[in-house]
Symmetry: C2
Subunit: 431 residues, 2 copies
């Protein structure tokens, strides 16, 4: 059988990981598919010393790859938005299947890309765009295809999880651990994308579209980072039986879809609360199967390359088999995508942890609990903590309420004379 | 598009779960595939009050389903060996695709069934046969298809895991918890299949064949149950930082494949050590992606039905798309299956926990450590425990050695005058 030919654009960490795994495991992969996957061309601005491309055709012009008549599948691993979009659209127009690890591209331009792919009858696959090597997109699109997905929650940014894990394990401060993460290469010099949750929101947007069959709507995702989480809150959470994790959460309600990335307190005995370091995990709750969890490396050249190649293999099998009905990009037929609204953050429902600084005088708790009571917010627990400062830290756990109720109550609490500074709020989920 | 028609044989727990999920989620499933999945016929000896089959054609003769010219996919959910084999082979001869949840059937007769399927150019799928609703077979066959699998280890029998979890959490004895499991319906009146590891060995055999591309060889799996695990050993393990889990383990070595089911001590901070109750989980270690873990319900009608229907959906997509190269049953092309040998248990390598009853006299440790040293077995730790009995419990942890070395050493230790009764041996893995 003649080989399926791929062109790899980009030879950075993921590009070289993909190149090396495809080369090293060529025999094992051929045993699976029944034909060879051949790297027909590599497009990269510069060579990568980790990759031996001496027997591969290399071009400095990635657009040459997208136009190469020899190539069946174009693999976009250059990252970024504009050039990547142009490359992917050109490849599609030229009738090539596309595999990409670019979460930003898919989350922001996915709808446009999928429409082009439909028009030209090619496949676009992006398993590697979410949670690196974990086959979570395949699980949602195919493994759980019998189910209605209720909700999902994921640790889908390794940098953020490394920072929170270190803060948890060693009682260290955010800025301190961030510096270490930067030194280790886990965090960028400008860490905004990771620690402010933008990267996680890209990935969550993709997961939610696949879970519910809705168009990609990155602009409607709520995003809150971890830079304000303190060692003190991590300790207080621990004492209450919780871990703080930076989760991407999607939930189907009667009103629409909740889509939110924020620091979240979860019970410490849950499996996902014990996913530490740079590792990723996604918990899915579905109507037939119940809860399932998927865990693995969320980044790294070969781990992400593993997912890139899984997509290549799926497409190769379809090419060989002449399959004209491969699973669509979001796992749902395009014409059946739903207009279920993404809910504004104010309309989402969750429980809360509140951390107040109370002046040392009588009546503070009475004033606070009155505000919560009038706002229809039930209190699960109140704990006063010791402090060396001239205030008393008060921790409250509430039952589940709408975010708009909590916003109003927090404004009122912050306006009390006996409350110093801002109220810290961390959402609590029991998954 | 015309519907894909399935015939369901067997209307027990999994049959009714499959029927009900297919019916309830028909709209969601059609949105995914682009056509309807129609239950054209049900074959069952008796009705199931959990299933409303009033608008479905029902026959008491399951073989009628396998011969029904209307049906594209026959779903075998009757269990057992002989009748199920006859049914599946008849369906294949009649050109029907087959989906089955029957791990015993696949583990024991899979090679024969797959050969028949190849001859008649139909698909045989069995995601639901291993770990219930967890899409682990899809993960191995497709999600990790870029990888060489090094090893995998799974909690793949819910009954056994429930018993060990209860023993762990409450310090209870095996027989006591088994009775409760039987009362709860988690364990059969004759629990041999579950607690002696036969069910787990069926599932492990299937996983190993998919991981390594080897024929199914159930007869070569080593199987050891949990009925001899005591509350005392669980406590000692806990004190050393371990949990005892009933694992199915497959490992690729230079000499061949280790294939073994036995109680295993694993570090308590690992994720899989924290999988409790009837839940299942599989850890896979692969060369490109590293370690991934898959967790979920290993049994239950709808959870298992979720996996049955995932197989139906995959096959339906191939039918619609005219795919002539669907992924083969084991994920490898039949002609590339490897004759890598399954190693005899004596040739497998692992670390050990040994529990000896030492007479209270001097020189015991010297005699024991001498035997181990002469056998080339390095000791990691020795702990003497308190006891009310007239002997001293001695716990030893060893480094990794071959099983034949340990067998010889244990025989010699048991022959010592100062050692009372049998030596308890539990294998230790760090995964």
């Amino acid at each position: 059988m003649k080989p399926v030919k791929v062109g790899i654009c980009g030879l950075g960490t993921v590009g070289s990981g993909t190149f090396n795994v495809l080369t090293r495991n060529a025999a094992e992969i051929s045993r699976r598919i029944g034909c060879e996957i051949m790297i027909a061309q590599v497009g990269a601005r510069r060579d990568n010393p980790d990759c031996d491309t001496t027997s591969t055709q290399v071009t400095r012009d990635i657009f040459e790859v997208a136009s190469n008549p020899d190539i069946d599948i174009v693999v976009e691993l250059i990252g970024g938005y504009e050039v990547a979009l142009k490359l992917v659209l050109l490849a599609i127009e030229n009738g090539k299947h596309v595999v990409t690890a670019n979460k930003a591209l898919i989350a922001v331009h996915g709808n446009q890309i999928f429409a082009a792919a439909r028009k030209h009858n090619v496949t676009v696959a992006f398993e590697s765009a979410v949670a690196g090597g974990i086959p979570i997109i395949k699980a949602l699109k195919e493994g759980l295809a019998a189910n209605k997905i209720n909700n999902l929650a994921g640790i889908i940014n390794g940098t953020g999880n490394f920072i929170l894990s270190e803060m948890q394990a060693k009682g260290r401060d955010f800025s301190d651990v961030l510096k270490e993460a930067q030194a280790l290469g886990y965090a960028e010099a400008d860490p905004t994308f990771d620690v402010e949750g933008i990267d996680a929101a890209h990935k969550l947007t993709i997961l939610a579209s696949i879970a519910y069959g809705i168009p990609l709507q990155f602009d409607k995702a709520y995003t809150e980072g971890i830079s304000k989480i303190t060692a003190e809150d991590i300790r207080f959470a621990d004492e209450l039986g919780y871990r703080i994790k930076h989760l991407g959460i999607a939930r189907r309600t009667a009103q629409g879809i909740e889509l939110r990335v924020h620091p979240t307190m979860i019970p410490k005995q849950t499996l996902i609360a014990n996913v530490n370091g740079v590792m990723n995990a996604v918990v899915v709750d579905a109507d037939a199967v119940g809860q399932t969890l998927y865990y693995g490396a969320g980044a790294g050249g070969e781990a992400t390359g593993s997912a890139v190649i899984a997509d290549i293999i799926d497409i190769a099998r379809n090419i060989i088999g002449g399959n004209t009905a491969a699973s669509p990009p979001l796992g749902f037929q395009a014409e059946t995508l739903s207009n279920l609204p993404i809910l504004a953050m104010e309309q989402t429902e969750t429980a809360y942890y509140l951390h107040l600084k109370a002046a040392e005088k009588p009546g503070v708790l009475a004033a606070v609990t009155k505000i919560l009571g009038q706002g229809g917010i039930n209190i699960e627990a109140i704990v006063q903590k010791e402090s060396d400062e001239d205030y008393v830290p008060v921790i409250l756990l509430t039952q589940q309420v709408f975010e708009f109720q909590m916003n109003k109550a927090i404004l009122e609490i912050e306006a009390l004379d006996c409350i110093l500074g801002d109220v810290t709020r961390i959402r609590v989920e029991h998954l």
